[in-house]
Subunit: 240 residues, 4 copies
DNA sequence: AATGAATGAGACTTCATTCAT
DNA sequence: GATGAATGAAGTCTCATTCAT
């Protein structure tokens, strides 16, 4: 019964179509995040987007297609943000750092996005043909992670990274780890703070720090350094 | 509401109940892994367990309770395995290493368990009161990760770990990271190999290696005090 | 909202189940005939049978299964009637005649049944595995048409049927023809009378007469005057 | 681009309309046969014909009209074929035989057509005003089956057919029977061969043979009066 | 004349759960 | 304690058709 035309389409047909598509996708994304992908029904997308169910089916063949479209959308935007954050970064280590920092920023500023991707992974990744995922990623991120691989090679070459690293292995291990950590933190959301007693991004940045330390070439000239807080260590054995 | 647990002779009532419960839980777990938690219906649990739906409701109040029971079950077993693997490990670093190795082994040998927990996180964690999760964890793993925290303190104290680590922060960061990586790898399953070209656990073990390198105290060319076990860790040993 | 329990089930569970099944089937059959198989919706079966849609699905897996059950039902009853009408018929020709007469009677007295089977043929026969149809028929009519084939053999042997008949071919040709004619007449229903100006069964009985004349052995001894119908076949001409 | 209507030169408007109409009808017919009339949706006709649904509605008021148009089309063509096959057939029996042979040929060469008509009968005949069907037939086949009736009269007159036949009754009975058998065989398609173990048209031709035997005058051993068999040919060509 | 967009009504089916035995 | 039967609510999706351009 909601037969209200909210906005007159002033533009051409394709423009109108794109606008409708957006409406559906935006509504879907919001709902997916609020309730979880599996807890959202087409009826909710209908009433939330203002597009009739039968109309939605002229834009997407079924609910799963909406999920995929949302994922593509979300990843594309994230990729654009990543691209931007890497611009004008000169050397290898700086770029790697920038990339990881970017992921931390995403966790803070776009936790919805990260959370959604986490859910998508958990719910869809295994039950869908791998090709589709790979295709999606290659469309969005054409160079793939090769750029990152290049960075590691550069880093090894210029001595800023450990020379015993296998670029391919390292790249995939690190990326997977960082994504895993990021998504887990996003999934748990505020629970992390209750459980871990730390703000989400603090944990994540510490992860990054440790990983970078692990990647970094060992200090060439062993210098000496006073310890910061040796006493504090054994103070509190158990907090909780 | 279930009976008190007493002696439980094989043919007794409580024993029967326990057997039924197990049947339901086992069937549910298998299905959850095969199809994903949200894609399993009570009817399927019925036909797969051989227990009638109405009977199931005499063991579990609703479907969610089954999910929680399965999770508790699964975590309990995992925890027992962990406990066992940590036994008879002498010092801090060895224990940390053992713990991380344990998680790698889990990934390989109990990927179903890991995957299930990943899915649970993504789908349930946010929609349920945090307390319940925390309660669950504390029941299963009393002491929680504090043991791990203790290890870090020890490591800092004995100089095998970086002294600029904040035990609490580090502990949580590392644990979250490792769990995140582990679950992500388990979720993606064989897709990782297609996409990354590396066996799942190879990636995971490289992650562990890098993390440990990052945690390790920077190599101070053995100065006036020989640490407990400087030789073992730093020797770049490529766990696998 | 029709939440009215029409009859208390006084008997046992199986009895009750059978009664429900009947209710569904009877309602379905009536509707199928009234509106045509394809024009009947589950909702109609629901409201007509008084059984909730979700309940129906505990008796039949889907709509097609209902159709098949109805067909089986209908054929079974028809088969029983046929059996009965053939009882106590002594020789071959008499039995053949009785069988064809039976089909004429069916057309008159059970046109609904015939019509339904005609529709089933037209709509389902081609789109379903042949085995299923054959299985159905063999369940209902175990001897199959072999009995009829035997009759023809007998008839050829005793000289009442043309000796140039191939029992198998003849049997199938005649049966198909008679069924085809019967179902077509039932399908067209009263339209036949409007179009052909003849009562339905009159046409059908004329068909039978001609077929029997065609099957009959040519007059054995060309006697002095070829009467219209000197032999015994003609005795019962069935004008009706 | 719209031109004036003229005499239908190839590029003219009416010609265009006719082409579109054909496209729709051809696509519909193919689909109707493949899937069954009731299982074909307008959307399928659209995608199969390449004509947009809204455009289709400028050629046909609704889906039923398409069905009727297809039937008309199909019958017209069949009728033309029939006409042709009857040409140059001299006498009554020969014409009757030719007609029945024609139906056998149709069954073999145009089983799609026959099958479609069978389906139409089963699904539409009863639910539509009889007049429409009759009108349709009279348009296509003016004179209707009266030609056939004439043949029978001729046959009776010249002694080649049984003289106890009632021309009207016989005509309708035989036509109905033959059509019924033909359509049933076409509907069952290859199932007949599986079930009956005989090629479809073999059965049908046997049916024809038996019917003709039944119609034929009993073999009077050519006695004193050779009927006007040779001469009668030109006697009565058509009764009406 | 042609068509892209829209849509209300309704199709079939599934589900978690309760009730009565 | 176990279970067969029942079910309301909701699920996703399809359909023939109309509207506005």
């Amino acid at each position: 019964m909601p037969r209200k035309k909210t906005a007159k389409p002033p533009g051409s047909y394709p423009a109108h179509r794109e606008r409708q598509r957006r409406r559906i996708l935006d509504a879907a994304w919001t709902l997916f995040d609020e309730r979880g992908i599996d807890r959202v029904s087409m009826a909710e997308i209908t009433s939330s987007s203002g597009v009739q169910p039968s109309t939605i089916y002229q834009y997407f063949a079924n609910k799963d297609e909406i999920v995929w479209a949302v994922i593509a959308d979300v990843m594309q935007k994230a990729s654009a943000r990543a691209q931007q954050s890497l611009e004008a970064t000169p050397n290898a280590l700086a770029r790697i750092t920038a990339l990881l920092d970017f992921m931390a920023d995403e966790l803070v500023n776009n936790s919805v996005t990260v959370r959604f991707m986490a859910q998508f992974d958990a719910m869809y990744a295994r039950h869908w043909p791998a090709e589709r995922l790979i295709t999606l990623e290659s469309q969005i991120n054409p160079g793939g992670f090769n750029a990152f691989r290049g960075l590691i090679c550069d880093g090894i070459a210029d001595g800023s990274l450990r020379h015993d690293l296998d670029p391919d292995l390292t790249m995939h291990a690190v990326i997977n780890t960082v994504i895993g950590a990021q998504r887990r933190l996003a999934s748990l959301g505020s629970k992390v703070e209750q459980e871990y007693g730390q703000p989400v991004d603090r944990l994540f940045r510490e992860t990054i720090r440790i990983l970078l330390l692990g990647l970094r070439a060992p200090e060439p000239p062993p210098r000496r350094r006073p310890r910061k807080k040796p006493s504090k260590v054994q103070s509190r054995k158990r907090t909780r």
